[in-house]
C-alpha cells in the first residue's frame, strides 16, 4: 500500500482509496491528482482483498476502482467494494469502454465510470468532487427515504397512495389492518370497492377539490362494517393521491355512549327536579285534605278526604321512584324484605314491561331479610326487568321470583343462605360468547343501548355483598339470579308509609315554620296550631332570621325547607344554632335526605322529613325531636 498526501491547504481533505493492480496506471492516476487545487489523501492498493482489509479500518470519501484486479474481475469487484463501503463514493476507472457494464455499475451505486486515457487531472478531480457530492445527496435522500419509510410502515394511521382511477398503488400495514386485508392484497384494489355505495361521486369531488376530509363506512369480508375517517390530498406526486385513514368505529361508539350517558344524566336531573316540585304540590294537597278530614262534618266528607290522602300517598310513592332514578338518594343500607320492595314498585314494573308481556310474580312473604339500599334494590329490579323486556320484543312472559336459597357446593356461590331474586324472560336467549361480557360497562348488543343497565346491576349487587348469575339457552330465554346474604334474627326497617301514624300528637311549644310554599306553610301552620303549638311562619330564610332576632320568647323548634329564595336552609340553620342554641331543628324537603348533606347541613337523620308527609307523621316527628332534646 502506498500513500500520497497532496495539498492540504483546502479545508476539507478528501480521503481517496485507489484500487488499481497496474502500478503504471496507478502512478499515472496519482500523478494526475498532484494538482495545486487538489486536497487529497490518496492510498493505493492493488488487490481486492487488500482493499477490503483497508475498508474495514478506514472510511474513504471516494474509491477510484479498476474493476479488473488480480483476485477479482468485472462487476463482482464493484459489488464487493460497494458492500464493504456503502458510505463512500465509487468512481470506476476502466480500460474498457463497456457501456453495459458502465450502466450497470452506475445503476447499482457507482457515482461515475471513466475510461482510462479519456481524462486529465482536472477532469478526474472534478469527477471525484462531483462523485462525493452525489454520494452525499444520495445518502441524504436515502436517509430521508428510510425515515419516511419507517413512518409509513409504523404509522398507526393507515396511509394509502391511489392513482387517478382510485387504484391503490401503495399502502401500509395499518391500512390493510383497517379493512382486514394483507397489505399486498390491498395494493391493486379499487378504493370504491371497500366503500359504501355512492363513494364514486365523493372520489370525483375529492379529485376536483384537490383535498378534503370525511368519513365512510367500509364493509369487511366477515360481514362487519367499520367507520373510517379519511384525509385526502391530491397529487402529492403527479397522478398519485394520498389518503390518511383511521378506524373511528369505537371512538364513535364511545361518543354515542357518552351522549347517552349525558342524556340519561340530564333526564335523571329533570326527573329529580320534577319530583321535588311535585312533592311540594302533593304536600299542599295532602295537608289540606287532612285539614278537611279533621273538620269533616259527615262521614261522606271524611271518606272523600281520606281518598285524597290515599291518592297523594300513591303519588308520593311514584315521586320516590323518580328521585331514585335521578340518583338523588344516597346509599342507605338497611334491613329489607325484598318482597316488600318488589311490591312497592310493582306498578312501575307493570308500566315498564307493557301490555304485550305477561308478568308472573312469585314473591314469597317472610323469606328473610337482606342488608341493602332500598332504592338500589329497586333499580336492580327495574334494570333486570327492562333487560327482560328488551329480550322479548314480540311479547312473552316475565317471571320474577323471590325465595330463600341454600348454597352448599357451588363454584360461583359461597356456602350459605341467600335471598334469591330471579328475573326470567322467554326471549331468544344469550349466546355463550356474549354471556361473558354482558356485565362489562358500555357493552351492549342493542342499537340504542347504553351498556350501563347490567353493569349497574352488577355493581350494586357486589356493593351489597351479593352475587349474580345468568343462565341462558338459545330460544329458551334467560334467567338472571341475584343472591343476597340472609341477615338472620332481624326485623325489617319500617318503610315511610308504614311509619305514618294516624295518631294526633298535641303540643304547646313555639315553632318557627319556614317554607316558601305559602299554601303548604299555611296548611301546616293551621294544623300545628290545632295541635296546640304556637307557630311563627316565614317565607324564606331571611324573614326567618328577622323573626328570630325580633321574637323575645323561646323558640323550641325550627322547621325549615332547604331550598328557598334569599337565604337557604343552611344559612338559616347556621344562624339559629349560633343565636338560639337551645332550638331544635327539623328539616323538610321535596328532595331526598341526601339533599341535607349536599347543602352542607350536619343533621341527625331523625331530624329530616321528606315531603310529602301527612300531618300525623309530622306531629309525631315533632314530638320525637322535641322530647329527645328535652
Amino acid at each position: 500500500m502506498s500513500t500520497l498526501v497532496m495539498d492540504s491547504r483546502q479545508t476539507e481533505l478528501l480521503r481517496v482509496l485507489l484500487v488499481e493492480d497496474n502500478v503504471l496506471d496507478a502512478k499515472f492516476i496519482t500523478g494526475l491528482l498532484r494538482l495545486p487545487t487538489a486536497a487529497l489523501q490518496c492510498q493505493h492498493v492493488t488487490r481486492l482483498a487488500e482493499a477490503l482489509d483497508h475498508l474495514e479500518k478506514n472510511s474513504p470519501d471516494v474509491i477510484l476502482l479498476d474493476l479488473n484486479l488480480e483476485d477479482s474481475a468485472g462487476y463482482d469487484t464493484f459489488y464487493r467494494i460497494r458492500q464493504a463501503a456503502f458510505r463512500a463514493a465509487i468512481l470506476v476507472l476502466s480500460g474498457s469502454d463497456d457501456e453495459d457494464l458502465a450502466i450497470r455499475t452506475v445503476r447499482e451505486g457507482a457515482q461515475d465510470y471513466l475510461v482510462k486515457g479519456t481524462f486529465d487531472g482536472r477532469l478526474l478531480l472534478r469527477s471525484i468532487r462531483y462523485a462525493i457530492e452525489r454520494k452525499r445527496s444520495e445518502e441524504a435522500l436515502r436517509q430521508s427515504q428510510a425515515t419516511v419509510r419507517a413512518i409509513f410502515e409504523n404509522s398507526v394511521e393507515g396511509i394509502v397512495i391511489f392513482d387517478d382511477d382510485g387504484i391503490c398503488l401503495e399502502a401500509n400495514a395499518a391500512a390493510g389492518a383497517l379493512i382486514n386485508l394483507p397489505r399486498k392484497e390491498l395494493i391493486g384494489s379499487r378504493l370504491c370497492d371497500f366503500c359504501e355505495k355512492g363513494f364514486e361521486e365523493v372520489w370525483v369531488q375529492l379529485r376536483a377539490s384537490q383535498s378534503g376530509r370525511g368519513q365512510f363506512w367500509t364493509h369487511l369480508k366477515d360481514g362487519s362494517r367499520r367507520l373510517v375517517d379519511y384525509s385526502f390530498t391530491a397529487n402529492v406526486l403527479p397522478g398519485q393521491h394520498l389518503a390518511m385513514v383511521r378506524d373511528i368505529t369505537e371512538q364513535q361508539d364511545m361518543e354515542e355512549q357518552l351522549r347517552d350517558s349525558q342524556k340519561m344524566e340530564a333526564v335523571g336531573r329533570l326527573a329529580g327536579g320534577v319530583a321535588h316540585d311535585f312533592n311540594n304540590i302533593l304536600g299542599i294537597i295532602s295537608g289540606h285534605a287532612e285539614l278537611l278530614e279533621s273538620s269533616a262534618s259527615s262521614q261522606v266528607e271524611r271518606s272523600r278526604a281520606e281518598k285524597i290522602i290515599s291518592a297523594t300517598e300513591k303519588a308520593a310513592s311514584l315521586t320516590r321512584q323518580l328521585l331514585a332514578f335521578g340518583r338523588k338518594q344516597v346509599m342507605t343500607l338497611k334491613l329489607l324484605d325484598l318482597s316488600s320492595v318488589l311490591e312497592g314498585i310493582s306498578s312501575m314494573v307493570d308500566c315498564l314491561v307493557g301490555a304485550e308481556i305477561q308478568i308472573n310474580i312469585q314473591a314469597a312473604k317472610n323469606v328473610g331479610l337482606v342488608r341493602a339500599d332500598q332504592s338500589q334494590m329497586e333499580q336492580v329490579i327495574m334494570n333486570l326487568t327492562a333487560n327482560a323486556r328488551e329480550a322479548m320484543p314480540e311479547g312473552g312472559t316475565l317471571t320474577i321470583t323471590i325465595d330463600r336459597y341454600l348454597s352448599s357446593d357451588q363454584p360461583d356461590l359461597p356456602p350459605g343462605e341467600y335471598i334469591r331474586l330471579s328475573i326470567s324472560d322467554t326471549g331468544a336467549g344469550i349466546s355463550q360468547e356474549i354471556q361473558s361480557r354482558i356485565f362489562e360497562p358500555f357493552f351492549t348488543t342493542k342499537k340504542n343501548g347504553s351498556g350501563l343497565g347490567l353493569s349497574t346491576v352488577y355493581g350494586i349487587v357486589k356493593q351489597s355483598g351479593g352475587y349474580i348469575t345468568v343462565h341462558s339457552e338459545a330460544q329458551c330465554g334467560s334467567t338472571f339470579s341475584v343472591y343476597l346474604p340472609v341477615i338472620n334474627g332481624s326485623h325489617p326497617n319500617p318503610t315511610p308509609s308504614e311509619s305514618r301514624s294516624r295518631s294526633h300528637v298535641p303540643g304547646h311549644e313555639t315553632i318557627l315554620l319556614v317554607d316558601n310554599e305559602e299554601d303548604l306553610r299555611n296548611a301546616t301552620c293551621e294544623y300545628l296550631e290545632s295541635c296546640g303549638y304556637r307557630v311563627l311562619t316565614a317565607g324564606d330564610g331571611k324573614e326567618a332570621i328577622e323573626i328570630c332576632n325580633r321574637y323575645a320568647g323561646s323558640i323550641s323548634l325550627l322547621i325549615s325547607d332547604i331550598v328557598m329564595p334569599k337565604l337557604n336552609g343552611r344559612g338559616l340553620v347556621d344562624h339559629v344554632r349560633k343565636t338560639r342554641p337551645g332550638t331544635s331543628i327539623l328539616i323538610i324537603s321535596g328532595y331526598g335526605a341526601d339533599a341535607v348533606w349536599r347543602h352542607g347541613i350536619a343533621l341527625d337523620p331523625s331530624c329530616f322529613l321528606q315531603k310529602p308527609f301527612t300531618f300525623q307523621v309530622l306531629s309525631a316527628q315533632i314530638r320525637s325531636v322535641l322530647d329527645k332534646e328535652a
Binding site: F28, R34, N68, G95, V115, G117, D120, G121
Partner: protein, 132 residues
C-alpha cells in the same frame, strides 16, 4: 444516470487515432515532466513484464490469461496516448475473449515493436526537454 458518456473521448475514439500522440500525453499530465519521467521509469520496469505475460499466455494457449494481459497493457497504452499500441492490445484482448489464438504471435510482435518505439519516443521527449 450520472455518467456522461459525451463529455470525454471514448475508447473507440482513442483507438481510431493513429500512433502515439505526444501532445495529447503532455496535455493529460499538464506538462508535468517530472511525472512524465516517473512514468517513463515505470514504463521501463513494468511494460516488459506485461509483454512477457502475453507471450506466456500465447505459449500456454491460455485465452483467459491473454484477455487479462491484453486488457492490462491496453489501459496503460491508453493512459499514455499510445493509440496504435492500445489498438493492438485490444486485438489481443479480444482474441483472448473469443478464445481464438490464431495470429496472436504476430500481434505480440507488432505490439512489442510499438512499445519499443513508444519507449524511445518518450525518452527522446524527456531528452529534448532536458536539452532545452
Amino acid at each position: 444516470m450520472f455518467w456522461d458518456e459525451s463529455r470525454a473521448d471514448s475508447e473507440v475514439d482513442l483507438l481510431n487515432r493513429e500512433g502515439f500522440d505526444p501532445q495529447a500525453l503532455l496535455h493529460l499530465v499538464h506538462g508535468d515532466f517530472n511525472l512524465l519521467q516517473e512514468l517513463v521509469d515505470l514504463f521501463g520496469t513494468e511494460v516488459p513484464g506485461m509483454l512477457a505475460s502475453i507471450e506466456k499466455a500465447i505459449q500456454q494457449g491460455s485465452a483467459s490469461d491473454l484477455e487479462k494481459a491484453g486488457h492490462k497493457i491496453k489501459g496503460s497504452m491508453l493512459q499514455l496516448s499510445a493509440h496504435a499500441a492500445a489498438k493492438i492490445a485490444l486485438q489481443l484482448e479480444k482474441s483472448g475473449q473469443t478464445g481464438s489464438m490464431d495470429g496472436t504471435g504476430i500481434l505480440l510482435e507488432k505490439l512489442t515493436q510499438e512499445v519499443h518505439v513508444l519507449d524511445q519516443t518518450l525518452r527522446s521527449m524527456l531528452q529534448n526537454r532536458l536539452s532545452h
